[in-house]
Symmetry: C2
Subunit: 263 residues, 2 copies
């Protein structure tokens, strides 16, 4: 028993916009395995799939021009731990968690994995209590603000990919990456990589603990340099026949840059 | 245009147990990307998540004693390509596929990946047309026979895991695996591995194109040898305090062996 054994779930239900017929399902969804045997792990299994399905439907409806690869990428980013953690925080889920002594003492109620898993379990509980449409209504509300700020063309793409797509949209050759230096002991090396875009006279250098990380850093700087180099007017890429085939991707080119560079 | 351009979908709807309000959704679900631009890829994205969710719910209800790890393992096996391919065959989906010329000529209508993907797309189409419960009703029927023949304790487990669990249930030490020989050229090696269970005086040898494969082969033979070595009466494992903690797993021990060895 701990001080949090009795929890008033009414405010949480209000935030969820859903009132349970069987409140014990919500209580179970809030119960971590460290607390008791009747915990939220099976509900988490169920809720994970409900969440995936509801988000898939939202994206399918919202982005009628996105292909299945882009839909998968966007969904993966909307259901990943960090995204669920942020939603869980907006619900103040940590105030309602039922944790065992050990987890309580070690601050389990702040742990992103526990909070994300609990949100999935709560989704599973709503699904069991009120059916698919109840879970859908609830998640639609929770995701509405997030979806407003999503750029489906860039979400979840790394800087090298964004740079490549940007250059392709201007029909420019791909950048070249060269390792220009390494430092530090073998187990703690730092890499320096340059990114060259001769047509735009851009040479930038990135650093990182791996070659890959250094390349990403250089790509990010190159994207910033392109934004600076190209006058505002010419930033809209020209459309050829080939380019038009990827019209949707091109149209988002400028927003891509803005999003990544302001972020 | 090909000879299959006009297809009577009525028999398929009967087999699915669902009649579309918008039959064009079913037609789209049956359209491979090689056939036309308006194809089934986005429906497949949606249907995949609906399928996962419905199967998760079925398993959650049916196996109230399975933990989330086992539920995930069983689901993974019920929604994998081979399982969906078999369901697609039971629906004769290949008679309804709309393929491009190239795919038609190369026998695309027989390809497991195309048929499995199409089943997902059909699921997505039912979901869009009639909602979650319609998709659920349809999938419940398609999976009912499969679920009757599933052993949730063994489905998807490999022979080494089954052997280990079997020995643990009898409180016997784990088996030892030794590579006893290799043959063939470097790019085409064959491995021979022995599996030793001293307490049962079992020594068996397995072969395979990798050490791992040879170990699995040896484990399979060892399981067969255990069945033979133990008299029928003593096959029910003894339960200690520790053993009782995994009671559910133990109880299925004998069925595990039977299932694997008869299969």
């Amino acid at each position: 028993m701990n001080a949090r054994a009795v929890i008033d779930i009414v405010p949480l239900q209000e935030r969820l916009g859903y009132t349970f017929k069987k409140p014990e399902l919500l209580t179970q969804a809030l119960t971590h395995r460290s607390h008791s045997k009747k915990n939220n792990e099976r509900l988490e299994f169920l809720g994970d799939s409900v969440l995936n399905c509801v988000v898939a439907e939202m994206l399918y409806e919202r982005y009628s021009d996105l292909d299945e690869g882009d839909l998968s990428r966007v969904r993966a980013n909307l259901v990943k731990q960090q995204a669920l953690y942020e939603i869980a925080q907006s619900l103040a889920l940590s105030d309602y968690l039922r944790l065992g002594e050990g987890e309580l003492k070690s601050g389990g109620f702040r742990r992103p994995s526990i909070l994300a898993d609990t949100l999935e379990a709560v989704t599973g509980a709503i699904f069991l209590d009120g059916g698919f449409d109840s879970a859908k209504d609830c998640l639609r509300k929770l995701y509405s603000l997030i979806l407003q700020n999503v750029d489906p063309k860039t979400l979840g793409k790394d800087d090298k990919t964004l740079l490549q797509e940007c250059l392709q949209s201007y029909q420019l050759p791909l950048p070249t990456y060269n390792v220009t230096g390494t430092s530090g002991a073998a187990h703690n090396q730092q890499f320096e990589v340059e990114c060259l875009i001769p047509n735009l006279k851009i040479t930038v250098k990135g650093e990182g603990a791996s070659r890959r990380a250094a390349e990403q850093g250089a790509a990010k700087l190159a994207l910033a340099a392109i934004l600076k180099a190209l006058p505002q007017e010419s930033r809209k890429p020209k459309k050829t026949r080939a380019a038009k085939k990827k019209a949707a991707k091109q149209d988002a080119g400028e927003e891509q840059l803005n999003l990544k560079l302001k972020g």
